[in-house]
Each structure stands twice: as structure tokens, then as C-alpha cells.
């Protein structure tokens, strides 16, 4: 998940598809985001690298659409419906997630446990 300037970002991602829930006039997803290139990265409790200015999931409403879809707190969102989320401002990220015409958002998220899981699975199969 670390970001080296000039090098492409590589990460193990998970696809999460969230159906938006209609609540009154609004379509909600049931989680909160924090971060962005205009925010202070040092205050992000979930990032490993405190200079990471990506968008992170800071809170999940229990039994909300995001919770049911498998989104976890602390996930870093890499893409939303094809739009990149690693180099956006906070407000741009919010706008991409809350488009009124879309009922579904397909996220690519990454978390530390994914890397561990892949490493673990690589090691457990000895090369023949």
C-alpha cells in the first residue's frame, strides 16, 4: 500500500459491490470516508504510511449496505466505478460515491490483511 512517487501503485485489491439503499430522498451507502489530497494525512488512524493521502473508510453503519457487502473499517478505496480514488480531493471522492443516477457502486478496496493472506497462500504451497 505504500506509494513511491514515480512508480506505479501496486496493491492486492478486493472487489466490493454495494447496492445503494433509498432513505427518503437520498441514496445512502452506509459508511463514512476520510482522507484526500487536500487533507492532513498525519491524522489518519487507519493508514500505515502517514503520508498516504488516499481515501479510507472511517466508519461503517452496522447492517447498512456497505456492511452487508463486506466493506470493513480501515479499508483504502482505490477505485469507485472505474474512477481512481488514490489522487483525489475529499470532495471529489464524495461526489463519485454519491452520484444520484447510479444505484450500485463497485469499489476496489485494499487492506493490510489481504496482502498477508496472499503471502500466506503463496508460502503454504511449496513449489514443486
Amino acid at each position: 500500500m505504500s506509494f513511491v512517487p514515480g512508480q506505479p501503485v501496486t496493491a492486492v485489491v478486493e472487489r466490493v459491490e454495494i447496492q445503494k439503499l433509498r432513505q427518503g430522498e437520498n441514496l445512502i451507502l452506509g459508511f463514512s470516508i476520510g482522507g484526500g489530497i487536500d487533507q492532513d494525512p498525519g491524522q489518519n488512524p487507519f493508514s500505515e504510511d502517514k503520508s498516504d493521502k488516499g481515501i479510507y473508510v472511517t466508519r461503517i453503519s452496522p447492517k447498512g449496505p456497505a456492511d452487508l457487502a463486506g466493506l470493513k473499517m480501515g479499508d483504502k478505496i482505490m477505485q469507485v466505478n472505474g474512477w481512481d480514488m488514490t489522487m483525489v480531493t475529499h470532495d471529489q471522492a464524495r461526489k463519485k460515491l454519491t452520484k444520484k443516477r447510479e444505484d450500485v457502486v463497485r469499489l476496489l478496496v485494499t487492506r493490510k490483511s489481504l496482502e498477508e493472506a496472499v503471502k500466506h497462500s503463496k508460502c503454504s504451497y511449496p513449489k514443486h
Binding site: 445512502i28 463514512s32 453503519s61
Partner: protein, 516 residues
């Protein structure tokens, strides 16, 4: 139904007939129009019961020449005031002279006592006295200078023109006078018994005794300064002064004073701070109040001899209050529109006045020194210059004063004097107008406008007792009264917090969380 009397004169007659409804009172206007006659048609307005005739603002505007007559009208209040002045001046002067003579006698006694102590041995037993040398002469010099300082100090503290006549005696001064008297008497007693009777020969001891008397007198003077001047300087009470007629309120901080001295301080502040009392501004609310009660009349249907008279009156007043609350009153509407209209009119007249005065001021200019020698013709002193430009602004000024009901505060003479004063001191038109646009404090107006120099102090507590928390008293004068309440200033507990100047550091707070 009430029909007005119809005047039958002239060719055309116009009569408006109005019936007096129980809730509303309308104006009845009778006008006669005559052709070919020279009489003025004067509108006669008669209203229902209780209201005073409304004064048309433009009445009297058709006069072309404004002469220099000031209004010399003597109202009932003035007559009362003059008679009161005559009666009281005699009594007050007697008391003042009495205290003054007492003070002079006491002062003479105090000053002559040390000198008497020094001189009497030389007169009574000169041969038995031991002559004392330089020490005595040193003491003589010190007595002389201390007496001189005491004389100057007493003159500075006590011999000042009296500011006011207070109702009761000034307690601290009386106590100090008694103290000084007792003191001097005791010194005389001691002197008489121990020195005169026994004819003491030690002259130095006597001189030292006289010096100790003068020292003690100086210390008593110090005590007098502390009690009379210094004690009330530290603010202790906050008093709230309200004028009863229009509710103007001011707050002052006073120290520990007796009620009468506090009242004196408040009156002196009143003349500087409160805007001048203008009875013409209160007539509107009085007419409204009269109108409220005028429309109702209570009939006793049950017949006489029911309850006691108090019971009937009580039930009657309750019935009136209930009826007044129930009926639909539109007087608030009238008030609102009337006030809006008045405001607009005042602003318009003020604009005209400002323009007229500015234009008038451009007509004259100050002549320089060099020009003075060159052209001696048509040169005016300030008074003549004021008289020259006054007519161009007089009409606008008079209209404005009449609209704001201030016309009785300023006479023609005072306006011209003020104009001459402003011209002499190079003031701008705005500075000249300032005293007419806003009602100033009472000191600003002429002496005879300071109507009340006679004030009455009305208090439940004794007027020589000190101010306390929750003291209430009234200062009544002829036209209005000032209600004074006092509150104690609370004890202030202050603590200290030190901030290191290097500790002011800041970071950006940019971590927002948005829920989607």
C-alpha cells in the same frame, strides 16, 4: 347620534355629520365657504371626550417676517417655583450663616490656643520663668511653620464655596468639629490645672506642650481628609438612575456615601449626562391613555345598597379591564403609522435644514490679516456676520425645531449667539447644527432653562445614613422625579495565568469525515 350646530352664513354650506360610535371617536369638521368676502375660513375641529385638539404642524407658517420675540409665557409651574424660591431663600441663608460663624469661632479658638500657651507664662509669671536657649527658639520656628501649614490646609479643605444646601447636617464634619473642640478643651484643662495653677518654671516643657498640640491638630486634619475626601473615592456601589417621565437611565459608580451626599453627586451627574427634559414629547402617550379609558362606562344594573362601596368599585374596575381587553383595539396601528410618518417628516426637514445651513455658511469667509489693511469697507464682526446670514436659514431651522418639539428650548437670541460663536471659532455647519439636531444635556441650554435648582429628596431611610445594597430613594423636582436604586459592587476574585509567548503554535486542521 350627535349632530353638530349648523352655521348658516354665506352662500354655500358644507356640513359633515358623524355619529359617535362607542368605540371610535371621529372628528367633526364644520366649514363655511363664502364667496366675495374677506373672512378666512378657519377649520374648527372638535373631537370627542378626552382628547386634546391636534396641533396642525403648518399652523402659523404663513407669517412672512420672523421677529425677535421670544416666548414669554408664565405657566403655573413657574409661579409655584418662584414663590418657593422666595420662601426658602430666607431659611437656607440663616442656616448657612449659622454654620459659618460656628466654624470661624472654632477656627479662631484652634489657632489662638498654641499661641496662648506660649504667651501666657510670659504675661503671668515672667520673673519665675527659666529662659531657654536655642532649643526653644528651634521649637518656636517649628510651631510657627506648623501653624502656617495648618492654616493653609484648613483653608484648602474647608473654606470652599458651598456647592449645595443639604437637608441634614453633614455628619462627619460635625463629628470632627466636636472632636476638635473636645481635644482643645482637654488640652486647656490640662494646661490650666498643671501649668497655670502651679506656675511651672520650665518654659521648654511648656513650649514642647504647645508643639504637641499643633502636631495633634495636624493629625486631626489628616483624619479629616481621609474621612471627608478619600473614603468615598473607592467605588463601592453601582447606582441606577431613572427619570420617571421618559425612562432615561444611567448608571454610576459611587463610593461609601451618605444618602444625601450620594443624591448630590447624582444631581451633578444628571445635569451633564441626561438629555434635557422635554415635556412636549410626552403628550402623545397621555392622549393615547386618555383615549383608552374614554370609550367605556360602567352601569350598575343590580341597584344600590348591595355591597360595600369598595366592593362595587373593585368589581367595576375589573369589568372595565375585562371589557378593554376584549374589545378590538386598533390604536397600535395608528401609532405605527403615525410614528413612521413623523420619522419621515423629521428626516425631510432635517435634510432641508442641513442644506440651508451649509449654503448660509458659504456666504461669509474669514478675512485675512493682509486684506484687513487693504479694504476697510463692509467688514463685520462675528455678531453682525451672524445676523447677516441668519435669515437664510431661520425658516428651515424653525420648521425643524417645531417638528421635533424643541422650539421652546431655543430662543432667537440664543441661536444667533451660538451662530456668532461658531463663526468666531471656525466651526463647520455640522458643528453648528449639532446642538439642534440632538437634544443635549441640560448644561447646554441657557440658565433659565435649568428649571429645577430646588430638589426634594424622598427616602424611607434616614438621609444621613450610608448607602446600602438595595437602597431606593427619589429625587423630586417640579416636572419629574429621578428614581435611584443602588446595588453593591460584588467582590471580584481575580486569578493569574501565565502564557509563554513561544507557546503559540498552530497546525492545519484538515481531517473531515463525510458519510455517504
Amino acid at each position: 347620534m350627535q349632530t353638530p350646530a349648523v352655521l348658516e352664513a354665506g352662500d354655500v354650506l358644507q356640513v359633515l355629520e358623524v355619529c359617535e360610535a362607542p368605540e371610535e371617536i371621529k372628528e367633526v369638521i364644520v366649514t363655511t365657504l363664502e364667496e366675495g368676502s374677506n373672512t378666512n375660513s378657519t377649520p374648527v375641529t372638535s373631537c370627542g371626550a378626552g382628547t386634546k385638539p391636534s396641533q396642525d404642524d403648518n399652523w402659523g407658517e404663513t407669517t412672512t417676517a420672523i421677529t425677535g420675540t421670544s416666548e414669554h409665557s408664565l405657566s403655573q409651574e413657574d409661579i409655584v417655583r418662584i414663590t418657593k424660591d422666595l420662601e426658602d431663600s430666607v431659611g437656607l441663608d440663616c442656616r448657612r450663616y449659622f454654620t459659618r460663624t460656628l466654624a470661624i469661632i472654632l477656627g479662631l479658638l484652634v489657632f489662638l490656643t498654641p499661641l496662648a500657651f506660649l504667651v501666657l507664662p510670659h504675661i503671668l509669671w515672667p520673673d519665675k520663668l527659666q529662659s531657654c536657649g536655642t532649643a526653644c527658639e528651634g521649637l518656636f520656628i517649628s510651631v510657627a511653620f506648623k501653624l502656617l501649614i495648618l492654616l493653609l490646609a484648613v483653608w484648602a479643605l474647608f473654606f470652599r464655596p458651598a456647592r449645595a444646601g443639604l437637608p441634614r447636617v453633614y455628619v462627619f464634619r460635625a463629628l470632627l468639629a466636636v472632636l476638635v473642640l473636645l481635644f482643645v478643651i482637654s488640652y486647656w484643662l490640662f494646661y490650666g490645672v498643671r501649668i497655670l495653677d502651679s506656675q511651672d518654671e520650665n518654659y521648654q516643657g511648656i513650649v514642647q506642650y504647645a508643639v504637641s498640640l499643633v502636631d495633634a491638630l495636624l493629625f486631626i486634619h489628616y483624619l479629616a481628609i481621609v474621612l471627608l475626601e478619600l473614603r468615598q473615592l473607592q467605588p463601592c456601589y453601582s447606582v441606577c438612575v431613572t427619570r420617571s417621565t421618559d425612562g432615561e437611565t444611567r448608571h454610576y459608580n459611587l463610593g461609601q456615601l451618605s444618602i444625601q451626599r450620594a443624591a448630590l453627586a447624582i444631581i451633578e451627574h444628571y445635569y451633564c449626562d441626561f438629555p434635557v427634559h422635554n415635556p412636549a414629547l410626552l403628550s402623545a402617550s397621555k392622549s393615547r391613555a386618555a383615549k383608552h379609558l374614554a370609550g367605556l362606562k360602567v352601569y350598575n344594573v343590580d341597584g344600590p345598597g348591595n355591597n360595600a362601596a369598595a366592593g362595587i368599585a373593585h368589581s367595576q374596575s375589573r369589568a372595565m379591564i375585562a371589557a378593554a381587553a376584549r374589545r378590538r383595539d386598533t390604536s397600535h396601528n395608528e401609532l405605527y403609522y403615525e410614528e413612521a410618518e413623523h420619522e419621515r417628516r423629521v428626516r425631510k426637514r432635517r435634510a432641508r435644514l442641513v442644506v440651508a445651513v451649509e449654503e448660509a455658511f458659504t456666504h461669509i469667509k474669514r478675512m485675512q490679516e493682509e486684506e484687513q489693511k487693504k479694504a476697510p469697507g463692509d467688514v463685520m464682526d462675528p455678531r453682525e456676520a451672524a445676523q447677516a446670514i441668519f435669515p437664510s436659514m431661520a425658516r428651515a431651522l424653525q420648521k425643524y425645531l417645531r417638528t421635533t418639539k424643541q422650539q421652546h428650548c431655543h430662543s432667537m437670541e440664543s441661536i444667533q449667539q451660538h451662530l456668532a460663536f461658531c463663526i468666531t471659532n471656525n466651526m463647520t455647519p455640522k458643528a453648528f447644527l449639532e446642538s439642534y439636531l440632538t437634544p443635549g444635556p441640560t448644561v447646554q441650554y441657557s440658565r433659565d432653562f435649568w428649571r429645577a435648582r430646588q430638589w426634594t429628596l424622598i427616602s424611607e431611610a434616614s438621609v444621613t445614613s450610608g448607602l446600602k445594597d438595595g437602597t431606593i430613594f427619589l429625587l423630586k423636582c417640579v416636572d419629574f422625579s429621578l428614581v435611584v436604586t443602588s446595588k453593591k459592587i460584588p467582590y471580584i476574585q481575580m486569578s493569574e495565568e501565565y502564557i509563554d509567548p513561544k507557546s503559540h503554535k498552530f497546525v492545519l486542521r484538515l481531517q473531515s469525515e463525510t458519510s455517504v
